[in-house]
Amino acid sequence: MESPRFLSRSDVIGLAALALLLVVILPLSLDVFRLNLVAKYLTYAFVALGLVLCWGFGGILSLGQGVFFGLGGYGMAMYLKLEASSVENTKIQSTPGIPDFMDWNQITQLPLFWQPFHSLTLTILAILIIPAFFAYLVGAAMFKRRVGGVYFAIITQAIAAILTILIIGQQGYTGGINGITDLRTLKGWDIRPDHAKVVLYFVEVAFLFGCILLALFVRHSKLGRILVAMREKEDRVRFSGYSVANFKIFAFCLAAMFAAIGGAMFTLNVGFMSPSFVGIVPSIEMVIYTAVGGRLSIFGAIYGTLLVNFAKTSLSESFPQLWLFGLGALFIAVVLIFPNGLAGIWRDHVQPLIDRMINKRKSGSDHHNGKSFGPIADGAPAE
């Protein structure tokens, strides 16, 4: 038996193919507006990536990933908003130096929980730690009590609903339904012009690759195999000496952290954050992206997210009312007909074709190793 390496051959090919698409093809072929749209879609890919680990491998379906996306996004937005609300910029307010929406809500002093977001370092720490810590609390409370499956999904959904209501209700502290808008600079660097958008796109792609590498590392570690084992036979894992709850908590926290990074990237690339990215609907949409891509495939999740969002944009431009039905139909189709999503289609139909072509070309010479590889075919469970 060969050791599972950190990166298998199919991973390297997958990374190269994705890099080609995101670093070369899309930037060269799209204008800044479209590239910025891709940047927006890719922020959801962080969430989908986390869902592959947590749901695909670990079997823990969370319908509340918007919560962590939102926490990351709001963290970044709070920092940018404070920078945009310098005394100079806000001197027409009755209390200069605080965000405009606070002033409109008769708040005269920056709330205590906003203070740390004056510092970029603290903001970054908050983006990485607060969502993961919150996931830890939720995970510990649920998994230690053996709450799982549908009940866990419903609870995460309830949390998403509660957080949305909280954000909307506390307008003076959060910007309410409008969210935190009118963001301008990051450490003095204007994030709004076209060249900034291009830079931010590449920064995001770099972070995405970082997260993909981390996910691949986890997937190829024994922890990754334990997640799969747990999804199948939780008791067998428990009675092999593992604390099942701790492994679930880990997967959930990591997924939360990925989602939070995606959220922070959303704020930077799109320029605002609002409760409409926190609640039940966006959380479910993110699960659908993962399912369409193939919930067992790290790369599939990225392609699934991009594809569904391209479809969403083009469809909702022409038939806005139809989109939600289309999305629902897509989800049902994926679950019923293609349970392994795009990655499964690739693995079962496209890859064999390519393999056959390669084999034909080198027939007679060295034989093919039979192992499928390809940009999104890393999800074969028993590979």
């Binding site: 986890v218 570690s221 922890l223 334990i226 008791d235 067998r236 428990r238 009675f239 000496g241 028993a382």
Partner: protein
């Protein structure tokens, strides 16, 4: 209630163990003792509470009252994974293996190392791990199936795989719930052979219906009936006990 402490040569001391499911006592004031290196077989009719006894020992079910001492530790106060780490291994009645993983990976997960979250992340497939997996695979007749996905195994092979997963844990007390159920005759023979090799240097608690098999391996037999001990002793004693003949062996 302190017998377990007074006689430390018992590996396992179950005393006054009772569990009630909504008033129904599946195990009722049960006491028995297993010595080091003893092979104990529990028999009894369907629903006698045999599986429940194993559930109680390994922590899957919490006792209503009573004590279970293993090497002086009270198992009723420990979590499942702590009980495993203390040296108790358990095979389930229906083969419980990971079908999405290979035979190798199934065995590797049970290797007693890297059991914490970060331990599992850092776990390396070292030569020692590989050797041990191969050694166990050889013992369970699956050496040439290591790279194969576990869902392709036959029912009997799955049972062996689960036994192998326990073996690799190297428990001091091995609990097997109907290890030959659903096996062909030739598989039964091989399993008996397998059990004879793996029971060295450890105690084994086996539940089994197959009388020939029981006779073949048991040191001592405990007959359960309606959650209580009906009879206990060597196979011959038990076989000739009129109470046992009446409720169990008679038909």
């Amino acid at each position: 209630m302190l017998i377990g402490h007074q006689q430390p040569d018992f590996l396992l001391a179950v005393e006054g163990l009772t569990v009630s499911f909504d008033g129904f006592k599946a195990v009722n004031d049960l006491s028995f003792y297993v010595e080091e290196n003893e092979i104990r077989v529990i028999i009894g009719p369907n629903g006698a509470g045999k599986t429940t006894v194993l559930d109680l020992i390994c922590g899957k079910t919490k006792a209503t009252s009573g004590a279970i001492h293993f090497r002086g530790k009270d198992l009723t106060k420990m979590k499942e994974n702590q009980i495993v780490q203390a040296g108790v291994g358990r095979k389930f009645q229906t083969p419980s293996i990971y079908e999405d993983l290979t035979v190798f990976e199934n065995l590797e997960i049970s290797y007693p190392q890297g059991r914490s979250v970060f331990g599992a992340l850092a776990f390396q497939r070292t030569a020692a791990v590989r050797e041990r997996v191969e050694e166990v695979a050889e013992a369970i007749f699956l050496k040439d199936k290591l790279g194969q996905s576990a869902d392709l195994l036959s029912h009997g092979q799955k049972q062996w795989l689960e036994i192998g997963m326990l073996l690799i844990q190297d428990p001091d007390l091995l609990m097997l719930d109907e290890p030959v159920a659903g096996m062909s005759v030739s598989e039964r023979v091989k399993t008996a052979e397998l059990l004879h090799t793996i029971i060295k240097d450890r105690s084994v608690l086996v539940i089994e219906h197959d009388m020939k098999f029981v006779e073949d391996i048991a040191h001592k037999v405990t007959v359960l009936h309606q959650g209580q001990i009906l009879s206990e002793g060597t196979m011959d004693t038990v076989k000739n006990d009129p109470k046992v003949i009446e409720v169990y062996l008679g038909h």
